[in-house]
Amino acid sequence: MFRISLMAAGLALTLAGASMAAEKPVLNVYTYDSFASDWGPGPKVEKAFEAICDCDLKFTTAGDGAALLARVQLEGKRSRADVVLGLDTNLTARAAASGLFAPHGITPENLAVPGGWNDPLFLPFDWGYFAFVYDKTKLGTVPHSFRELAAAPDSLKIVIEDPRSSTPGLGLLLWVKAAYGDKAPEIWKGLAPHILTVTKGWSEAYGMFLKGEADMVLSYTTSPAYHLIAENDNSKAAAIFDEGHYMQIEVAGKMATAPHPDLADKFLKFMMSEKFQSLIPTTNWMYPAVRLKEGLPKGFAAPIPADKALILSPEQALVARDAALAEWQSALSK
């Protein structure tokens, strides 16, 4: 009898424990695939936030920033997402126009993003510069501007991503636009003989570059840091261009329909904290959005000066992209 009641008590405790666990609210964070992957910041972020939030943090993934926005638009007001993390400023005008996002109400402090920040809907969590990455042991003469790249011998080949299917691809489109404005088509015409091919996404392009298919690949100024820190390989470098470099600022926002708005606020605050931000450099291989106490990890090159940063505002980017895409298509289709 005693044993049975003990078992019953144990069972009751187990059930209570289970129901308590079940009662923990679930914070749904939508993000892009590589953020939540085992090698990205996701697992560490999840652990750190769950230690303080008394909640269950759950990631839902889409391919990349653009896929993420399309997914949220598809779900619309029925979306179960609390936070969307991983859009960039080339997408935020469209995201804001969807009416799906709510103001975050946070004034970020100690911000390390060049140009400052005043978007009421989205907060930056990391940023970087697009750049052409090359192998120092293989490429003799490194071009230092789009014009030099255009003037290089035709045998110098680059591989780029398609702006229609890839965030870095769109970044390059706007980079040329921001640097050259109306002269952009001319630049694209000059680059055309050097463009070995255009890939669907970053992974394909970078994979082809590492296999030696192309001399340079469109990636980030922070890519060489990965090879140096994670692989102890210092053969990769980013070509610094005189025109300046287009920035990618990655942002997160709270859904207006968030089932757990308070937790979402808490998460966005956590996102701007040292704990979250210190994970970024060596997991997402981008610059953190705030200044870290310890500074950047060893092997991480200091960002190029802020006066070399190029960026279109979200509104400018939205206006520019369709025309820029048409120019790009016609220059490369000849």
Partner: protein, 523 residues
């Protein structure tokens, strides 16, 4: 016969209608759902017509070349027996089932600017090979589809009774006579379907065409659909493009159906085919050389995937095995489902010997080949999202959609065998009053088992390597192997990714080989 004709509603017809409804819902139904969710009207842009032109031209050339090359290869395989022939036939199935990114990197390792061929050329002072452009697209599509065409033709050859060749030898027929009397009718029966299948596969190609096409010149309809969803969020345009793709698919299916001339063949009594006519030295040399070249063309990129992958295997940890396990489960479920759908449609088609109904069942089976994975995925997502958590449906949806996608190949492989069974033994079975399950077991199954094995293996392998449809349903905690592979690549883990790619290829090939050999073991 009369008795069967009176039975208007047979179980076969009911099952066929069910399968047809499911395929139609998945392919056309999802387009309707996407169109219904659109805020903008359905319309096409100027660039979409350019995409249509490029799509059609590359698909026509790729399909024509794949089929033309497959004829001598299939003939050589059919009339020669040599050590390792079975292994070669299995390995030739491999390119078709490779995940796109793996195949592209494998191809580039051989034919790319930094590939083997270029290395040899540069060594001797020539410029490296440049494959990017129209020829690159065609090269990749032939690499993918020549093996499929070969297998489909080979099955046609193998349905010719050995007695025909014996009789031909007794009559003193030359190779040319045999070609006219026996082989040409086979080709007329099998080639149109094979051509249409490959043509449509090339129509829906996207990442391969873009990467090897060298830029936006190589925009296919599928890429335009992708752009409509991702870049413009214009579902009206996506639906319009998807309908355009279906129109092409329908046209190709109807043409193939009208051109194909099926002829009843006699049952095969002797298992061994001996070809007395081609024992001569020149024909032996020609066959050997042809097979060798094709094997090199197809297997070198695979070898590069293997070499590259071996370095990466050591970097993989336990999670990759979980991903592999999930993928194998999905592949098996998908394979079984494919076979059931193909049998349901095929039996319904042959139960109506001739006419529009038979053609209808066959055409429905073709539908999903012209479907856009992006549209199917999005349509299903719109339907399911209000009801369930998409991530919880990731694996079932993957299995179902992949089954629908593999159905055209399965039907292409099994339907001719079913027709042959009915044509040769159907009357006998009728006179014996053989119907239902008994008819299937005794009459149909022995004929279709090789094709069924091949089709099931193909479905399993295709499902193993697929990523396209499930992107919207992906569960971050329960990745399939292809998703895991892409995650590795997206996180700079290129070496580990090539290890995962090798694992994926090995598992796909193993699944394919098991089913395929099980089918062929019957012969």
């Amino acid at each position: 016969m009369a008795e069967r004709a009176e039975q208007v509603i047979t179980p076969a017809l009911v099952a066929g209608l069910g399968a047809a409804a499911l395929v139609a819902a998945l392919s056309l139904g999802t387009v309707a759902v996407v169109a219904g969710a659109a805020v903008s009207p359905m319309r096409l842009g100027a660039g979409d017509w350019a995409a249509l032109k490029f799509t059609l031209s590359q698909a026509l050339v790729s399909a024509a070349l794949s089929c033309a090359l497959a004829v001598p290869v299939a003939r050589a395989l059919a009339r020669r027996s040599f050590a390792g022939r079975g292994l070669l036939v299995t390995l030739l199935g491999a390119p078709f089932i490779l995940p796109v990114i793996v195949a592209v990197l494998g191809l580039l390792a051989v034919y790319g600017r930094g590939g083997l061929v270029s290395a040899v050329l540069v060594h001797f002072g020539y410029a490296p090979l440049s494959i990017y452009g129209f020829r690159g697209v065609v090269l990749a599509h032939v690499f993918f589809n020549l093996p499929l065409a070969t297998r489909l033709l080979l099955q046609g050859w193998q349905r010719v009774p050995a007695e025909h060749f014996r009789l031909a030898a007794q009559l003193g027929m030359t190779t040319r006579d045999i070609n006219r009397v026996i082989e040409r009718p086979i080709l007329r029966a099998v080639l149109p379907g094979a051509f249409a299948t490959i043509f449509l596969l090339c129509v829906t190609s996207f990442a391969v065409a873009l990467t090897l096409g060298g830029g936006p010149r190589a925009t296919t309809i599928e890429l335009a659909i992708y752009q409509a969803f991702r870049f413009d969020f214009d579902m009206g345009r996506a639906a319009a493009l998807a309908l355009m793709q279906f129109a092409i698919g329908a046209l190709a299916a109807v043409l193939a159906w009208r051109m194909a001339q099926t002829r009843a063949q006699d049952p095969q009594l002797a298992p061994e085919v001996h070809r007395w006519d081609c024992a001569g030295f020149p024909s032996r040399v020609a066959d050997s050389l042809g097979l060798l070249l094709v094997a090199l063309f197809l297997l070198l990129p695979l070898a590069m995937v293997l070499i590259d992958g071996l370095r990466g295997i050591a970097l993989l940890d336990g999670r990759v095995w979980l991903a592999l396990g999930r993928s194998v489960l999905v592949a098996l479920a998908s394979a079984v489902l494919t076979l059931l759908l193909a049998l349901a449609l095929g039996l319904a088609a042959v139960s109506r010997r001739q006419g529009a109904i038979a053609g209808g069942f066959e055409s429905i089976g073709f539908l999903s080949i012209a479907a856009s994975p992006m549209v199917i995925g999005t349509g299903l997502f719109i339907i399911l999202y209000p009801l369930v958590d998409p991530a919880s449906m990731a694996l079932p949806v993957t299995a179902l959609v992949n089954a629908a996608m593999s159905l055209p190949f399965a039907l292409r492989a099994t339907l001719p065998a079913l027709r042959q069974a009915e044509a040769t033994h159907g009357r006998l079975a009728d006179s014996l009053g053989l119907g239902g399950g008994m008819r299937f077991r005794l009459l149909h199954w022995p004929f279709i088992r090789p094709a069924a094995g091949f089709a099931t293996g193909l479905a399993a392998a295709l499902s193993m390597g697929d990523l396209g449809v499930v992107a919207l349903f992906a569960d971050p905690d329960a990745a399939t192997l292809p998703l895991y592979l892409y995650r590795l690549m997206g996180s700079y883990q290129m070496t580990a990714a090539s290890g995962a790619a090798l694992l994926l290829v090995a598992a796909s090939l193993a699944l394919f080989a098991v089913f395929d050999r099980w089918g062929r073991a019957a012969r």
